[in-house]
Symmetry: C2
Amino acid sequence: MQEAASLTIVSCDCHAGAPPADYREYLDAGYRASYDAARRDPDRLERRAAEVIGTGPMSPDTDEEHAALTSRWTADRRLEVLDADGIAGEVLFPQPAGRAAPPFYNFFGHPLDPEDPLAAAAGCRAYNRWLADFCEGSPAPERHAGLALIGIVDDVAAAVAEVEWAKRAGLRGVILRSQPLSGYGWHDPRYEPLWSVCESLEMPIHTHGGEGLELGDLPGSRSIFFTEVVWFAHRLFWHLLWSGVLERHPNLRLVFTEQFADWIPPLLHRLDMQYEGTVSSLTLTEGLRMKPSDYWARQCHVGASFMSREECEVRLRIGVPTILWGSDFPHDEGTWPDTQAALHTTFDGVPPAELRAMLGENAIRVYGFDADLLAKHAERVGPPITDFA
Amino acid sequence: MQEAASLTIVSCDCHAGAPPADYREYLDAGYRASYDAARRDPDRLERRAAEVIGTGPMSPDTDEEHAALTSRWTADRRLEVLDADGIAGEVLFPQPAGRAAPPFYNFFGHPLDPEDPLAAAAGCRAYNRWLADFCEGSPAPERHAGLALIGIVDDVAAAVAEVEWAKRAGLRGVILRSQPLSGYGWHDPRYEPLWSVCESLEMPIHTHGGEGLELGDLPGSRSIFFTEVVWFAHRLFWHLLWSGVLERHPNLRLVFTEQFADWIPPLLHRLDMQYEGTVSSLTLTEGLRMKPSDYWARQCHVGASFMSREECEVRLRIGVPTILWGSDFPHDEGTWPDTQAALHTTFDGVPPAELRAMLGENAIRVYGFDADLLAKHAERVGPPITDFA
């Protein structure tokens, strides 16, 4: 088979969401009245977001900002943006805050009303149902892989049922909080049914930077939050490693998205040392039959949003088959609308086979994209692979 | 001046402590009765340690273990061990657990009775007073630099007074918990007097791996704790960075001990990106006039216990002047009693000037050792520098 001249690019970190009014019909009937009340105070979502993380309201000032805003929920507008960015396919996370965020839920981790986690669970379900319709109703459904938001897991059976629903609805994976809202963490055996269903239905589990410790409203708090938030998103890996979940569920897949990639080589080195008993007088292998780095290679991926040149240079130590590039569209910190320039900065000179893997083929395998259909879009919009020589 | 033929080695991570009976006279009179009661239940300390971190009781089975145990509190025995290990000088942390640990306090972070932090504060004071006597009473006081344990800081004025006492008593720095027992963290402006006194008295501030989040008694909890505990010890850096403490106190020095060194290059890279506004739509420089990596270079050190070859290879990115090697004597995970072999594994082929800096000169500068006096011991016990060519 001849290799395609164009690079098939999949962004494994894009964000979508509905205008608030559109979520209403997807909400369980019992939550519509309180949602209407929240919408009558349209700044409430923004205010809560600002409290949590210090962002201001989002209102489009420029044409580019308007494109970013409307493409969160308008599929044909969205596809134009992907085309212009040279991207064939995308993986969809929710908008973490602001007007298109899931009802009653912000930042992957903060129920708008911490006293009512059931409202947040209903908001996640509404988002998932809207997202399934968005992907299915797109003029090019083969270009979208939507992920179900499983934000609230106190009722483990309900979380399992939502994963099953998501699979039937065509969604391609699930997003968990960095840590459960209550209890000690993901190593708790009570979540075993969740790992089983995600393994058996081949739904990879994602964390995405978003939650940290309470830091108060003190000088530096917001910057400290930004520094720390990625670490909390990493924790799922070693919680499921040391509690034996990855050993018991060899087909379970984890994806760590928008939390950098440079932490992986030193972490794997240190976990292997811990397993081999060289960092502490206390050696606990916890029943694992392989080194921690072997579980990473077998079952984990990094959603390497706006991957840096430095991260690319250690790709062999991270594992090229584990790397999934992402643009983070439509967020300011991502590569859009200058994705092609960003790709050259990071990837120029990388051997073509590695480039194809990190930018597209790994994602096609993890998310079950149709490689032939994506290749047709790439012929039209993807950059020539020779450009990266 | 001719360079010495022998390498002057300072271990910046050693541990000492008294037999429990010896702490009694150093305790405030009001705490002696409850300390006697605790000592009548000699397993209580061990049990609490086992609960927290899973270690069993420590009792010497071999000659080597007996040397390790008695050298925690017997200076002449300790000096013999240092000599045999090729080490000229040492920096002293407390025993984190077991029989020689400070009264009412274990693991740098867990008051034995969480309901009585004042007892833990008294225990720290007793340890500090014992340590000052231990260093002063040694046959070679020029070889020891003791660090004061400031475990409880709810009463900031009392913590400041203890730093002032420690300086007068000849101790060379202070150890803080990874995070204060209460409140949001070290970025809280209430600790400003503590930073001022440590800066003006030239007392470098240390964290040492020891505290993490509560993980419950679940499968994997202990291993997760070990994986996470080092990260919590790193936090002091970015808490004091983003809250402006390092900017306001340019002569304050921080030392991050026994928590690895490989996390530093990726962290500095990411903090610089955060400062320059390339990782988030929210750019907050927090009033800093330099990049985060500049504050690291100016004010921080890593206590690189049992430093690995991989860490040595990135020494230029960490900053050679910031690296302080340590043996972690008398702990199993450290290099003792095979320090010379461990040094060759890590450092063979490193240019002599860098070797001298990381193994001794940096420590002499940070802790105020007398270089000439240490050089005399090194002539007797230190390895020839040509051995590392």
